[in-house]
Symmetry: C2
Subunit: 305 residues, 2 copies
C-alpha cells in the first residue's frame, strides 16, 4: 500500500536514481539499428526491434547499479503496435531483473475511465470472472487536472496491490509556470496540487514513513522544490530534469528529506546516450551507460550526505 518496495530497492543499491528508457531510434547505436533494419526494414517493427536490443543491453548493464527504470510511454507509442509490444517486453525484462518499474504515462480522465487506466497498469481486469494483468508495472505517473475523482481509482489500486503513483505538480519544462504558477489566494496552483497530493497520500503511508502517492517535481526549479518538500513531508518525489534538461544539483538536493530519502532522480538521455560522449563509440554503449549511472549515483549521494 505504499512506496516501500521502491525505498527498499533504493537502500539496497545505495542509489536514489532511476534510469529513464526514452529510446528514440536515433539514440540506438548504429550497429544495432543496421541489424534490425536488415531483418525488418526501416519500418515501425524494425525501429521497435532495434530499441528492444538497446533496452535489453541497457538493463543488463544497469540492473545492479540502479533501483528502478522509467520507460516513457510516448517513445514506444510513437512506433505504433510494434513499439507497444517492445514496451511490454521491456517492462517484463526489467521486472525479471529485479528493477522497480515506473511507467511514465501521465494518464488522466474522469473517475470511471481513470479506473480503466488504473486496471491497465496497477490493478487487475475482470473478464467475466477471470482475472488478468494487462500491463503490470510498479508505478505510473498521472496528471491531476481533473481533481480527486480522477485520481482516487489509482490510489485505491495502490493500496490494494502495493503500487505507487507520482502526480504531476511542478514540471520541469519551460512553460510549466503558465498554469502551475498562477496564484490562487496566497498560493500558486502547484501548491494547491501539493495539498491535494498530501490528502490523497493520507492512509497510504508505509513502514518507511512514505506514502504511495508521490509527486513529480522538476529539478529545474530549486525554490519550488523546497516549497513542495515543506508541504509534502511523507510523499516521494520523482525528479526529472537532471542533466539533459539543465537541472542543477541545487534543485535535486532540495527534493530530499533529512533522512536522505524522499526523492528519486531521473536521467534518460544522460545515461542512454553516454556512448555518444565517449571515444569508444556505439559498440560500447552499455559500458558507457553503466559508467554514467555510477557517476550519477556518486554525484547524487554526495549532495544528500
Amino acid at each position: 500500500m505504499s512506496v516501500d518496495q521502491l525505498v527498499k530497492k533504493i537502500k539496497e543499491k545505495g542509489n536514489p536514481s532511476v534510469a529513464g528508457l526514452d529510446p528514440r531510434v536515433e539514440y540506438v547505436p548504429e550497429h544495432i539499428r543496421e541489424r534490425a533494419y536488415r531483418e525488418y526494414g526501416k519500418t515501425l517493427k524494425g525501429a521497435a526491434e532495434a530499441i528492444w536490443e538497446f533496452n535489453k543491453g541497457l538493463i543488463d548493464a544497469l540492473y545492479d547499479v540502479v533501483p528502478a527504470v522509467k520507460p516513457q510511454s510516448a517513445f514506444y507509442e510513437m512506433y505504433g503496435l510494434p513499439g507497444e509490444e517492445v514496451l511490454h517486453r521491456t517492462i517484463q525484462y526489467a521486472k525479471e531483473k529485479g528493477l522497480y518499474v515506473i511507467l511514465d504515462v501521465k494518464r488522466n480522465d474522469i473517475g470511471s475511465t481513470a479506473a480503466a487506466y488504473s486496471a491497465a497498469y496497477l490493478g487487475r481486469v475482470d473478464i467475466d470472472g477471470a482475472e488478468a494483468e494487462p500491463c503490470p508495472v510498479d508505478s505510473i505517473t498521472v496528471n491531476p487536472y481533473l481533481g480527486t475523482d480522477g485520481i482516487q481509482p489509482f490510489v485505491d489500486d495502490c493500496i490494494k496491490y502495493d503500487k505507487s503513483i507520482f502526480v504531476l505538480a511542478r514540471t520541469s519544462n519551460p512553460s510549466s509556470g503558465e498554469l502551475q504558477m498562477l496564484y490562487s489566494g496566497e498560493k500558486m496552483i502547484f501548491e494547491h496540487v501539493a495539498a491535494l497530493i498530501d490528502k490523497w497520500n493520507e492512509g497510504t503511508v508505509g513502514e518507511n514513513g512514505y506514502g504511495a502517492v508521490g509527486a513529480v517535481v522538476g529539478a529545474t526549479h530549486a525554490d519550488d522544490a523546497k516549497i513542495m518538500r515543506s508541504i509534502l513531508k511523507r510523499a516521494y518525489f520523482l525528479v526529472p530534469g537532471y542533466g539533459a534538461q539543465g537541472g542543477g544539483l541545487e534543485g535535486v538536493s532540495r527534493c530530499f528529506n533529512d533522512d536522505g530519502l524522499g526523492a528519486i532522480v531521473n536521467s534518460s538521455r544522460g545515461i542512454m546516450c553516454a556512448y555518444k560522449k565517449s571515444d569508444r563509440g556505439g559498440e560500447a554503449f552499455a559500458d558507457a551507460a553503466r559508467t554514467e549511472a555510477v557517476r550519477m549515483k556518486e554525484e547524487i549521494t554526495s549532495i544528500i550526505k
Copy 2:
C-alpha cells in the same frame, strides 16, 4: 490545418454528435462474448476480440448517421496488447467507413515528449529516412497542465497534416472544479486555459471559421459552457457528459454558436448500451444503437435551431 474536415462531415450528416466507443467487455452482448471466449478463452485476447466484433457492428450501424467516432484509449489499454491491437483495427475500420476519428487519449508531457505523442497519432515518424504513420487518427484530446511547450508540437502537426486537437478545459466529472474552478485574479483556472487555447488556435482557422485547437467542455456545467463560448468563438467544443453523465440539454445548447456550429456532443454508453434498455436483447444491439443515435441527432438538432 483546421477542423474543416470534421465540420464538413457534420454538415453532410446534419448531425453534430459523436459516438463514443468505450467498450468495457461487460457492455458487449452475451452472444458475442461467448463466441470470443469459445475461441480465445476468458483472456485479454478473448475480451479484445469480443470488443472488436461489437465495435464493428456498431460502426456498421452508425456510419451513415454520425460524422465521427471517439474511441476512449483507456478501454483498450485495459485489455493489454490485444486491446491495443483492436484499437488500431477499430480506427482503421472507422476511417474506411468515412468517419472522423477522435482518439480520446488526454496525452500530455514536456515539449520533446509531446512531439513524440504527436508523431504517434497526428504526425509521422522518421525511421532513418523512412516515414511511417504509427496510429493515424484525425484528432486527439490533450491535457493543458504543462503549458504551451507541451501543446505546441500537437498544434504544429495539426497545421502540417490537417488534424485537430481538443484541449481539456472544464471537464464533466464531479471534482473537476477542485483545480479548474480556483480563481486566479478575476478568472477561474479553466478561463485561463480557455485564453491559452484561444492563443494556440490563432493561425489555424479554416474556411468554416473554426480553428484546429478545440476545447473539451462538459455538458454538465451550463453556465461555464456559456463563459467558454464567449472566450472561444473560433474553437470547436467536444462535449462529453450528455446522457449517461446526466448532462442537460441546457449545457449542450450553450456550447453551440449562432451559426449552429461550434460543438460536437459525445454519447458513449447511451448508444453502445442502448440494447440493454430495449426488449429485443443483445442480438439487436446494432439496431438499438442506431435508433438511439438517430434519437440523439434529432434531440440535439432541435435545440440548436
